[in-house]
Amino acid sequence: MSCSKFETDIALYAGGDLTAGQIARVESHLAECAQCRALAEELRAGQALLGELRDEPLEDAMVAQVRRRALAEVGRADFNPRGSLAPLLALAAAILLAVVLLWPRHPANHAPVARMEPGVALPDATPVPRVNITPARHRIVRRHRRSAPAAQPGPPLLVQFVTDDPNVVIYWLIDRKPEGD
């Protein structure tokens, strides 16, 4: 095995990250390779310096400043230990908006369907359309004069469709022919 293939193992060896079998293999190579021994020495020296970094004392003022700032922040009256409520409020608002926008205003098609059935007469013999509106509730308002003068066209017949949707009201104005025609 060439030295370059040992490089990785030597780096792990220097930090004590190899198993007993791997250590034996690396040490066997180090015993016969001066170049790799030098590498191992340099890596060990680096390890020692890294370990010393941990023991370096930090400036007391720096530590105290962190403590002071953290305690001040925690002690603030408005500090919420469970975090800000803003994300939750935003989520709730988004859900509410989605529900309002997507909620079906009517369970089914609310557009009224009108159908005229000829031949159906009202008691005063005035032809009045029969209107079926499905599926919404409907109400027909009939406005007409019972006693129109003879040979005069009667006033127009107004049919009002009232659906479940208060915003949808359909007016149907029907001209009546003069009586006797």
């Binding site: 780096a11 310096l49 890294l50 970094l53 370096e56 930090l58 400043q65 922040e73 925690v74 975090g83």
Partner: protein, 180 residues
């Protein structure tokens, strides 16, 4: 462990106690990961605020050190990404170190301090993940398994990262020493 159970009440006294135990370690790790005293202080402050928020939810059986390390690494990563600090050599926290105990051989001591300085600078040249793995493993002295748990990686990944980081560190330090 009993002490932790008693402290796990979310009160200010427990928070202060834990903070006083861990503040130097948290700040030290942040300093080595961020390579900037101001950023390290900001990171440490954020770590302790998160500690306060989650004090009642921490798993007492696992202790709080792994949690603190994990949060420190995450906070430092976030700060580094936001601020995009360049790892300038002049930003090293040389003046933020406390007084060193007098040594019999002042020259040797100064030389050692200089070497540590070079290693610190070399550390800052590593990538984010390699630096975190190396700081936790070789500076903090955690096991590979602990580092893997903190970083959310596999042990093999951490082993690969620290191996690569050690070799790069050796190259960087060699280069910096030759430059002097």
């Amino acid at each position: 462990m009993m002490a932790w159970r008693r402290e796990n009440t979310g009160d200010m006294a427990a928070f202060e106690r834990i903070m006083s135990q861990c503040e130097r370690r948290v700040l030290g790790v942040a300093l080595r990961l961020l390579n900037n005293p101001q950023d390290a202080q900001d990171a440490a402050q954020e770590v302790f605020l998160r500690l306060y928020k989650h004090l009642g939810n921490l798993d007492e059986t696992r202790g709080y050190e792994p949690w603190l390390y994990r949060v420190t690494v995450n906070v430092c990563r976030d700060i580094a990404r936001v601020r995009r600090r360049s790892v300038g050599l002049e930003e090293m926290p040389e003046r933020r170190l406390g007084p060193v105990a007098p040594q019999p051989d002042a020259y040797q001591d100064a030389e050692r301090a200089q070497q540590r300085e070079i290693v610190r600078r070399a550390l800052s040249c590593l990538g984010e993940k390699e630096r975190a793995a190396l700081v936790l493993r070789d500076v903090e002295g955690l096991s590979t398994r602990e580092v893997a748990a903190i970083l959310g990686s596999s042990e093999n990944t951490v082993r690969s990262q620290i191996c690569s980081a050690r070799l790069k560190l050796r190259d960087f330090t060699g280069r910096l020493l030759r430059r002097r």
